[in-house]
Symmetry: D3
Subunit: 240 residues, 6 copies
């Protein structure tokens, strides 16, 4: 099967890293195609960029010329999953929801450790809309920006690990979700420090997407995600 894993920012190196993370856990026979949006910000850390990414991710998927079996939205706490579900019949998996869902099988409560303070409300809203708040102990920011994760991995590891420890000790989290696509690979350090399971959203999303495809399940089209009605679009998609 073929899974599209779509980055939400336009930084190709991050797309590559997400794709590799996805491929590393994919089952034999699963092809991972990592896509970068044609337009948008080099990192997504706020509402403006996230709204832009929502539509850019949809356009990237629409423009992909080959058949595919499922789509993974690889931005943590970003807008747009509902739009993809409306556009597509195949399953759509958001990594925020994939991580939380997976965490819930491993412990009574989970915390998300993300980048900047301003990402916290976005993640909280995404979890609330997905009905995944009840067992969320906290969403905590490490203070590291998305691109810091690539630029200064040692400091990022340190900050994330410490924040995860606070989640376990102060918020009583029993599982940690790494709340940023770019955090893939840091999990081991968090496990060492905290002793609790750590869930990476991209990895979780790959196995969930594979499972849905294998079970022959597709997005329900009866109401919320019914196919879009025909519209006249002005100046869209952009011609540049």
């Amino acid at each position: 099967m073929r899974l599209l894993v779509v980055n939400v920012n336009t930084t190709e190196s991050m797309t590559k890293s997400i794709g590799e993370q996805a491929a590393s856990v994919a089952a034999p026979g699963t092809e991972i195609v990592a896509l970068t949006p044609e337009f948008g910000a080099d990192s997504v850390e706020g509402n403006y960029e996230s709204h832009l990414a929502a539509i850019a991710v949809m356009e990237a998927v629409r423009a992909y010329p080959e058949p595919f079996d499922a789509v993974i939205q690889a931005g943590y706490g970003e807008h747009g999953r509902e739009g993809l579900q409306e556009l597509l019949d195949v399953p759509v998996v958001d990594i925020t929801e994939a991580a939380a869902t997976t965490a819930q099988f491993l412990g009574r409560s989970y915390s998300v450790v993300t980048t900047l303070d301003r990402a916290v409300p976005l993640i909280e809203d995404r979890l609330a809309l997905a009905g995944l708040s009840a067992r969320c102990a906290s969403v905590r920011a490490s203070g590291m920006a998305v691109l810091d994760l690539e630029r200064d991995p040692a400091a990022a590891v340190e900050a994330i690990v410490e924040e995860a420890a606070r989640a376990v000790e102060q918020d009583r989290a029993e599982v940690i979700c790494l709340g940023c696509g770019g955090m893939s690979g840091l999990g081991e350090k968090v496990v060492e420090r905290t002793g609790v399971p750590v869930v990476d959203g991209v990895a979780a999303a790959v196995t969930i997407a594979e499972s849905l495809v294998r079970l022959g399940l597709r997005t329900s089209k009866v109401r919320t995600f019914a196919p879009a009605r025909p519209k006249h679009f002005k100046n869209w998609p952009p011609s540049n």
Copy 2:
């Protein structure tokens, strides 16, 4: 003061009608400027168009060359209010939230009567994120599409009035919110049929925006709506 009232679709006649509705309730000295996005769908009735509208509305506001005192997002149940609050210091008022908030001063519970069934989840989500669900008795669809409201007003009135009556009788709503920018003006018929107060989102939003401006209040910038971080944007804004 000057209020920008931004339509979410690209149908100029609807922008005009929204602008007139806004102007009809504005205080003396309030200038209403109605804006139409440069790109997007001729009506917004689903997630794809709504995500596109979110960013189109933001771009329309960014492109507006004169000073202004507040912005009204004139789409019911649409994405994007958070992005506007991040971009701007002046108050931003979403008509879904304006209507619900106003309704809550008039009765114990309110219902929203909207266009199509597929709009219901979008409105429910917006109310949930805004913390306005507790007193929402129901969100009901009349089955009329947005553009039907202009094309066949008689049938639209009939369908909306009947759905409002069901909300009052079956869901125990004590106030009705008209859940579509284009429904302005139909309120009187609903009042006649149901005997309960009817709130129009655009009108409610105008008085709320005026109030916030008059009180000298602006969007809080400490965390969720802190100014965006500097980013490199690829292929954006579109050059067409």
Copy 3:
């Protein structure tokens, strides 16, 4: 239009100060009439006085001989708003709800800073019944009694400002509501210290009441606030 602004205690100087605060934000053409109840406590800081104030405020409004367009209940976290809505057709605005509602347009979450610890449960209950708890970060007490606000304004300012800062830093409030009618005028200091918008309940209530009147909206009379049934009253109203 004429707005009745009703103090909940019998201290005339406080009625005067509330009336001035209301007048200072009223639109041209709005007449503010500040009323003091005929009976009750000199300050309301607990359930007994608050229950007494509920009925005293209703009697004060019933006894007012001239026509009026809306009523503002100017006690923070007090009982009785529902009774006024039942008695009257014109809009009734409680300052606790007015402040919270206004705050919700300015930031993701708000906190209330009030006088004494014992007022906290009353305010929490009022917000809960009004469906305004979801975005309430906290209700915090400054430790200053109502009359201290008049007697020792410097200490009151200090205590309130510090408690507001704690709400912003520890509870992640993005907006502060001043939780006592007598706090009007202290807002500027809180803004200086915290950098977040500060909402005064009386001021917010005036603009909301004006808006409801201007939109021609009145209290829904279908169920909860239907006119009272005819009763025989014993020894009421009091003859003293």
Copy 4:
């Protein structure tokens, strides 16, 4: 021990009937003293009367000259229990809460069947503030006014029994609470018709008050119900 059972209206015959109902379930050695407020409405069926009753009940208790061990507030869905708890050290039991609490020991969910539609919101609010909503299946009105229960008992029984049956069949209630002090004695008919346990609030309150007294428990005075602060009262209590 001596229990004060306080009627919320000024109809002596109803006080008598409540007192008899209480006495019929009291343990040997429990003295029931039924009190009628000195002022207020002959029946309480709305917010104005209920707010008035709140303070009238408090005054009746304050005026009672002998020692007592607990107080029962014998109005269903009325304001004021918090005020009594503030005034007194001895336990205070509201019959709405007593009935719901008792019902929760008997089945998974309970419904309240009350008099008029307008009483429903009052009862819902009381249950919500008491933290007793989670297992409440519904609050239903029989359409019978309070005094109808005395005037036309046959019709009242019929209406209440039918509404109870709807609660069991449509709302999945497993227990019925009779939601009016005056309904005492109708329980048997409801049991016959529905086959589910029926809880009378006055009876439940008597056993709960007795239990609290026997266990030596008293109202917590640390915060919410701390003794009232000294106040100057104007024109209160009334001299008539």
Copy 5:
């Protein structure tokens, strides 16, 4: 009347102490029969033992040869109350729920102080399923194991008292529930230290069971607790 008070562990000395605690508050004419399960762990401090206790308690009650009027499940936060309600017509009272229900009559919020950290989730779940979470300020662990309460009472008292004080000061609890059957008798020390009422679950359960019996109330049999359907059981009950 005869009440069965069933210990959840197989330690006879604890059964005896629970029985004595129950008898000390029972009304004249109430016979307390304390039962020890035939199988299970010597103390219950986790899910495995608690699930085993659930069925062991049911078997103990089924095996009891004499008539009885109500059953008290005397384990704090344990599984199984629903099974007893299904098996029996007479009232079943779980001490966790009895304590919380009683506490709710005494203050705005309550905390539970229990033994080990691992018991906290069990108690939280029990309160959530019973609809008693809304007013629960916290469930706190003292760090003392169940049998420590018998082995080193002085240290147990100290740890419990300190944890209770933290609940009152930090979590704003106004009442404390002693969250372990074996804590009976330590209440006085907690009252001394915190000044708030302390509820013992066994004592509370005895008065509630007596009340239900006296009111002639029995478990509702319409749906959730309808009598079990006939089954073939393999290897059960055990022959040892």
Copy 6:
């Protein structure tokens, strides 16, 4: 990898059918071992049997002599998952939670269609404790007992299909979960009738268990599911 799939009842034919359902969706390389408890009821349709099954399933897993990688608890709405998580380090997947979690990726809301009315509360409780209620539209009973599914499959299909249609049309469910281990294989009929995706709990659980194992994730052992403390057990396990 080896997955233990544990039936909750003692009917071997049902174990076999569950095992076959599991095997039919398992990945290459996954070995399915279906276990039947040594003691308990031939079908589980109530609290008594379910509590017994909880412990019987745990004993079955403890007695299994070979290594294994994850455990699936194959009863819908049954007690006991927490106990397995405490006993084991490997992942434990409950089919109720697996189905709901999977359904949440496919539509905005889901309903469960189960066997008898009395199973509904058990399923609702399980979903509530698992934090999976927010998107649950309803839990509906088809009126067919567990063993009817084997005895009269045609009637069972009919009843289940009709109930599923009601969930979609009346409760606005967008996905259906088949709420009984024995319903495996009926999904196609429900899809035909309703047009919405249908999730089988056993199948969903297999892919989730496989995913957790493949990602190297194990149950968190820090608090709720920490290893049991050493105990003395009396008369357990049973010697028969």
